[in-house]
Amino acid sequence: MSDWKRQHSAAIFIGFLSSIKEMLFTMLAVLIFGQSSQFGGGWFYTIFFALILVFSLANGIIKWATFKYKLQENELQIKHGLIFRKSRYIRKERIQSIDINAKLLQRLFGLVELRIETAGGGAEPEFRLIALRREEANLIKTELLKRQAIDIEGSIDESAEDLKDIPASDEKFTDFTWELSKQRLVIAAITSSGIGIAATFVAAITSQVQQFIPEAMYERVIGWVIHSSVLLIGFWIVFILLIGWIISLISTLLKYGMFKIDKRDDEIHISRGVIEQRQLTLSAKRITAVRLVQNIIRQPFGFVSVYVESAGGGRKDEDLSTILIPICKKGEVNQLLKEVLPDFVVEKAYEPLPAKSVRRYIIRLIIPSVFVATLLVYFFNWGWITIIIPLLAGAYGYWQYSSAGIGIDGNNLLLKSRAISLTEVILPRKRIQAMKSTQSLFQRLDDLCTIHVSIITSIVGKTFSLRHISKDQRDHQFSWYSYEEEKENIKGESKG
């Protein structure tokens, strides 16, 4: 139907820039660590970076020149490669979802990226065309999806059964739409838990600043810091945290701005982003677990974010799980889930952990804190103040204990626990791949167990655990999960 086409020539630069972006950390590492060593000299770096640039550019050009695609009757054909020529036929029935993203690099050229996800766990379940004009991308998308819709209507393939009440029109109507309001976005940004990460990053950079300021000045500053009071160090910590907070605030605003969920039949379309506009399509049938996370800033205000684990469709850059709702009130979760993922609407009936397990939670945190406190006393003569550390750790352990809970609602298992944020996981029975309990020597003293529940996520499995539940609770979960109706013994002949 059409000829072989190349992508927009801006693909060269997009490819070039994104490979530079990928190597940025390596290059920074070389720059930072290399300077402090005696190895090589100025020449070495010049050549090193020049080679990287030339290589990346050449790579971009070759990729663009050899990459060709053709939209065919039933499939999208792609061929690429200079030395090893590869061709790929993406058949429309195998397409799970097509997303159009406009990342920063693409937006510079007014282009979009087309991301096609195919079924099956091949080597590359997803495919990207990195530089297309928006009209072109839309054309490919509608062409591939249109035929798919028509085809489903007529054929009796496995998915047809669940999709048969789709109207025959090409335009799929939307069942449910939810947008993140501006006010909520601001709340999300203010209470974002990215502070920790951002602050570490800022601290790391500040620690490297010494490379770039003159030595005399550096020494003066260091001398000043060493002689200054605890107050001043405290000020520095607050300052770093503040910068970290601002960074995480801005990044949250940009990441979750214009957040929107569209639910069409079984598909959940998530689009988000101010500068980098991303789309993501998830199939409701492939969601294996829902996580409700409340970080400590949000918890007092009753705000919660909802993540989903999906067998396929998750993103590598989002910790294998995908955010479904960046922020909402706790009471709204069930309303939203009812529209988007009705299977995961649960009555939150948590059973607390047995009283015996409070000891385990407290001891587990006190032991390392005593160790830290001892070190502080030994090396820094901190004295009495170190008593606070184990006490705080113990209190935190008690908090973790009292936050934890386990429960069953119909076909869903609920686990609630706190590392720092309070996390609730909803796991449908039919998504659980295996259930395991472990009991360590210490747990045996109190007749406690840890429960581990495994599910599938996009790349590998994921296991959720809850520590120190009672044996009765364990038995209860096991019998809930067990597929044996009666405990009849078919094959297990008891022979030694």
Binding site: A311, A434, S454, S494, G496
Partner: protein
């Protein structure tokens, strides 16, 4: 209260574990040997040789005699119509339920030692986890594999 699984591993598994552990211990024995050889070329004190040998023997006792025995005693499995249950572990007791309909595939594996004793180790993989029953008689292992394969064919993936 849920019934505990009651089938032990094949008794010969214990032998296999002991043989494997013995071989590992011979490997540890290389350390004092290397030390002795090194002592010929470099000036080295004598006493570490004895310490090393004693340490190797102590490790050997635990690894060859005591530990496999405890481990074997603790290992239990049971194959029900619709699920497999395992229970094992000396210090940390693990108990696993694997429903048949979640099983993706079952492999039986045999190293030379296992083969000599007519045993197989059975690996049960789900989409997210892998579990192993380390020693079953070949016949039983094959039977289990076929049984699970059959159930997997019948199973409805959506329960």
């Amino acid at each position: 209260m849920r019934e505990k699984p009651n089938n032990p591993l094949a008794l010969k598994t214990l032998k296999v574990w002991r043989i494997t552990a013995t071989m590992e211990c011979f490997f540890f024995l290389l350390i004092p040997i290397v030390y002795v050889i090194a002592g010929r070329y470099v000036e080295l004190p004598q006493w570490p040789i004895y310490v090393l040998v004693i340490v190797v023997f102590i490790i050997g006792y635990f690894k060859i005699t005591l530990f496999p025995k405890l481990q074997w005693k603790k290992w239990r499995y049971k194959i029900y119509e619709n699920e497999v249950e395992l229970m094992y572990g000396v210090f940390v007791v693990r108990r696993v339920i694997i429903p048949m309909i979640r099983v993706q595939h079952v492999d039986t594996r045999q190293g030379p030692i296992l083969r000599h004793y007519g045993l197989s180790s059975v690996t049960i993989s789900t989409a997210a986890t892998i579990h192993e029953i380390p020693g079953l008689e070949e016949v039983k292992a094959d039977e289990l594999r076929d049984h699970i394969a059959e159930l997997a064919r019948e199973a409805d993936p959506n329960e």
